[in-house]
């Protein structure tokens, strides 16, 4: 399924060709349904212990069914390391729940400690995730430093909240620059060149969509209230409120996927590795349609459609991405020193993270 197109940029060689290699995803809802049910069942009867193994199985299924240029991805996470991380997370959560029930400083101190540790944990989690991913037998990796992680995940969010979130797009750009700019494949680094201006544009677009939807919802509520107050019977008013709540719920379910599709396009259209670049063409309308029909199907099947919904969305979003291969993909070299620090970290998997791909 690869097409050959001449590079648009002028180049030295006339043989200079760019191959468009689209990502393909072969996972199916039916198969993931079986994996989901079996693993959820095993997790329940082992009181959650098996969930670490389940996570590895699921991730390996996703990775193994994601293909790019005729090769698939692989995941190497150790269930025991993940289990350790989850145990720590559960202890922290329980401690926090118990302490937050009481007045006093203990809960406040714990919350502050958690916030202070968060950037470090996110950084470690990225290292764990990427080091344990591979493509064509070469592992990914993540560099970065604690200092940059704290600037991206603590300093910028704090500044953004101090400025009434006017700096939120800027903070978001810094986080994505950290995530993508510090990622590695073997010894090669990814590069990321989406400027702050583009993030402001994205937020502006999302804001306009939000306002338009809210106005529509406001009109719906207004007309419902008017209609029901004329009839005046309380059960009718209940029904009106119910319709409004459902509309609000649907709206909340749609807005996030649409935003993340727009974000995916922005981020991946400005990411590259070596001479190769990524391209993402996810359509917001299509994503909204998938999200809405997924929600309806999940509700109608009492949740049984969940794994199908997940596969459907994942397939669309992954298959909107392509790699524009400039030359050959054969020349990446594994990093012999990588990974020593990242594998042992059980806590690193405390936070599960979505990199949009």
């Amino acid at each position: 399924m690869s097409a050959i197109t001449p590079a648009t940029a002028p180049s030295f060689s006339t043989e200079h060709l760019v191959m468009v290699e689209p990502v393909s995803f072969t996972g199916t809802g039916g198969e993931y349904f079986r994996i989901w049910i079996t693993n959820t069942f095993l997790s329940i009867i082992t009181l959650g212990i098996y969930s670490a193994w389940a996570k590895v199985r699921r991730t390996r299924y996703f990775y193994g069914n994601t293909r790019l240029a005729g090769a698939s991805f692989d995941y190497h996470g150790e269930p025991k390391a993940i289990l350790k991380g989850r145990a720590v997370a559960v202890v922290l959560l329980v401690a926090y729940q118990l302490l937050s029930g009481m007045p006093g400083t203990a809960a406040g101190v714990l919350a502050l400690l958690l916030v202070a540790a968060l950037p470090w944990l996110i950084w470690k989690s990225l290292q764990f995730r990427l080091y344990n991913s591979s493509y064509r037998g070469i592992r990914f990796g993540f560099g970065g430093s604690a200092r940059v992680a704290y600037i991206a995940y603590l300093l910028w969010p704090v500044l953004s909240s101090l400025t009434a979130f006017l700096l939120a797009p800027m903070a978001h750009q810094r986080i994505k620059r950290f995530q993508h700019g510090e990622s590695r494949y073997g010894t090669s680094r990814f590069h990321f060149d989406a400027g702050v201006g583009r993030f402001y544009l994205l937020y502006l677009k999302a804001f306009l969509v939000l306002v338009a939807g809210s106005i529509a919802l406001g009109l719906l509520l207004g007309s419902l209230l008017a209609a029901y107050s004329r009839r005046g019977a309380p059960p009718e008013a209940y029904r009106g409120a119910l319709v409004f709540v459902v509309a609000l719920y649907v709206w909340a379910t749609l807005i996030y996927p649409v935003f993340s599709a727009m974000l995916q396009n922005l981020v991946w259209n400005h990411t590259g590795i070596g001479p190769h670049r990524f391209e993402s063409r996810a359509r917001a309308g299509r994503v909204a349609f998938i999200a809405l029909t997924n929600l309806l199907a999940i509700l109608c099947t009492l949740g049984l459609y969940l794994p199908f919904a997940k596969m459907r969305m994942m397939k669309y979003r992954l298959e909107s991405v392509a790699l524009l291969v400039d030359g050959s993909l054969d020349d990446f070299v594994a990093d012999a020193q990588a990974g020593a620090g990242a594998t042992g970290e059980g806590v690193a998997d405390l936070l599960d993270f979505d990199l949009s791909l």
Partner: protein
Amino acid sequence: MSIQASYFDGKTSRRHQVMLEVLDGVASISGDASRRCPLPQLRVSEANQRGVRLVTFPDGAYLEVEDQEGFARMLAATGHTDTLVSRLQQSWRATLLAALAMAAAVFLLWRLGLPLAADLVASNLPPAVERRLGDATLQALDARLLAPSQLQPEQQQRIRTRFSTLADSAEDAPRFELLFRKSRVGPNALALPAGRIVLTDELVTLLADDENALMAVLAHELGHLHHRHLVQRLVHGAAVGAAGMALFGDASGLVATLPALMLDLHYSREAEREADLYAATLLKNAGLGPDTLATALERLGGDKEDGPAYLSTHPATTERIAHLRELR
């Protein structure tokens, strides 16, 4: 028998086209690369419908096999068996059984395990913790919804004395403390952890002409204290919430919160029924009759119509009144 495969050596991203062959328990590849390895040292990835299967060497180098049929035949010839979980995952029948067993397990946990655990935690909670929980709840209520009572001290004292006498008539009445507050949300009575009952001025005024009805409402709240409903509900809510996230958090945060919400509403409806029953017994013993609570509920409900039963915290008032009348 040999099949086609791609070999990646783990050092560079180059793809090597090779043929894979198994002879006398040793796998060997030939073509762009050649290598031999005894079968027990190789790791084969799980079977799946459409994806490729991987054969990994001890040093991380691996083979990608797209020829599913040929590979399946080769695996069968070497006596390779998939893991039990992998076989379960591939079978619809096993999946169906797992789903049924899971539904049964979840149902049992929810109907038997969870109330039992909540009960156990509630009745074994150290008094100091319960006290602090109660203090925190009262502080939060005082800050947002309640103001100091404007009732005459004599009137407060009269209600206190009358209710103490009523409560003393039960053998196993919990310790309680009656507090009066002015409310910003209308007539209400609340049972808090650690034995506090908050009674609002508005409720006293509403039932001013019928003190028996007021006693009935207080007896209902005493029922909540007796069953330690509030602490149970906290434990219950936290557990169901965590389970919902574990099961469905994977796909959507919004969907994950739904079961917790529905189950919590169901649970509090049961709690109301239990408290009604306790109050009815107490009132009967004191010679007032369960009717008193029914009357109080009627007056509290007034002309308000309840929403659908499955969406409300309190069971539809009419349903509760009917229940109480039956107890006579």
